[in-house]
Symmetry: C2
Subunit: 158 residues, 2 copies
DNA sequence: ATAAGTGCAAATCATTTGCAATGTC
DNA sequence: GACATTGCAAATGATTTGCACTTAT
């Protein structure tokens, strides 16, 4: 994630805590530093591992409790990729309307934006009598370069 | 669901079983009858209840095992609506490309199709070097009639 | 001082699985 | 008869929670 975006997200979280009269603890700081130092999707367990590398005192319970605060404050989005555990996406604060393409061949996840889709979504919502507030779009796809050349090189698949 | 679509889905499932040399048991028949007699989204637990009304011998284990077969054969789609349990959507065999709009006010789920979105998805996939195989789009929205008149009447919210 | 936050271990709860009995082909 | 399928009850595994101690404000 870009440095400014990352720092902005951390600041927003501190603001969120203050506004709710919640406390700015060592563990919460370590966890948000970890969350916004990556632009990968991650699981609760991965976050626990990473955070513990920085501070052994971070516990699984606090990771889950902080993940809840981060999703409530809309700085982190919960994602379901069909696995029995959740993934978390730290890129929404920088790209609030991005979508996901998941490659069935290499499991790689590509993020993309589309103004066009956003516009159509709003039109459709209006036609149905609703105001669209947010969206989740996941495309499942196969890798063209794999099919053509037998390997996952080029822009696709990595 | 329309009668023909419903019957077609059941037939496809029987074919699927035969092709895989799996057996056409009483319990599986009761479960698919139940699944394709509704066009609502449902949970495993609801399906168990409904199936048991028809045949007390149906067990939770068989419901889960049959749900797996139904999703594998692509006749039923698993959906994540942010709850700790999964929902199942029986309408994909009739409308393979439909999307969902979830109303934040009344929790109603509206299904809709859009050729336009499908086209854009394919274009974007191509540009990224992939062939799009399937998609999941969920819009989260608020109800206009509720905002205007204070009640959820009209086409929205029911 | 006070109330929020923490780690730990136990609890929860949807889903999965081992197994002996049963049913389908 | 062979082997898939079933129900049951126990296991699993991600996430949540109660509690006594600790820490931020």
């Amino acid at each position: 994630m870009r440095t400014e975006a990352r720092e902005a997200a951390k600041r927003k979280f501190i603001d969120f805590l203050e506004k709710k009269k919640l406390r700015n603890t060592d563990q919460r700081r370590v966890i948000i530093d970890t969350v916004f130092d990556t632009d990968e999707h991650f699981t609760a367990e991965q976050l626990l591992d990473w955070a513990r590398e920085k501070d052994r005192s971070v516990s699984r319970a606090t990771v889950y409790r902080t993940l809840l605060l981060l999703t409530e404050s809309d700085l982190l989005h919960e994602m379901d990729f069909g696995k029995p555990y959740k993934f978390y996406d730290p890129n929404y604060s920088d790209h609030p309307n991005h979508h996901h393409l998941i490659c069935e061949d290499c499991e790689k996840i590509v993020e993309f934006d589309s103004e066009q889709i956003k516009t159509i979504e709003e039109e459709i919502g209006q036609k149905l009598g609703f105001t669209v507030k947010s969206q989740k779009l996941q495309l499942s796809a196969t890798c063209d370069s794999l099919k053509r050349s037998g390997t996952c090189d080029g822009i696709s698949c990595h």
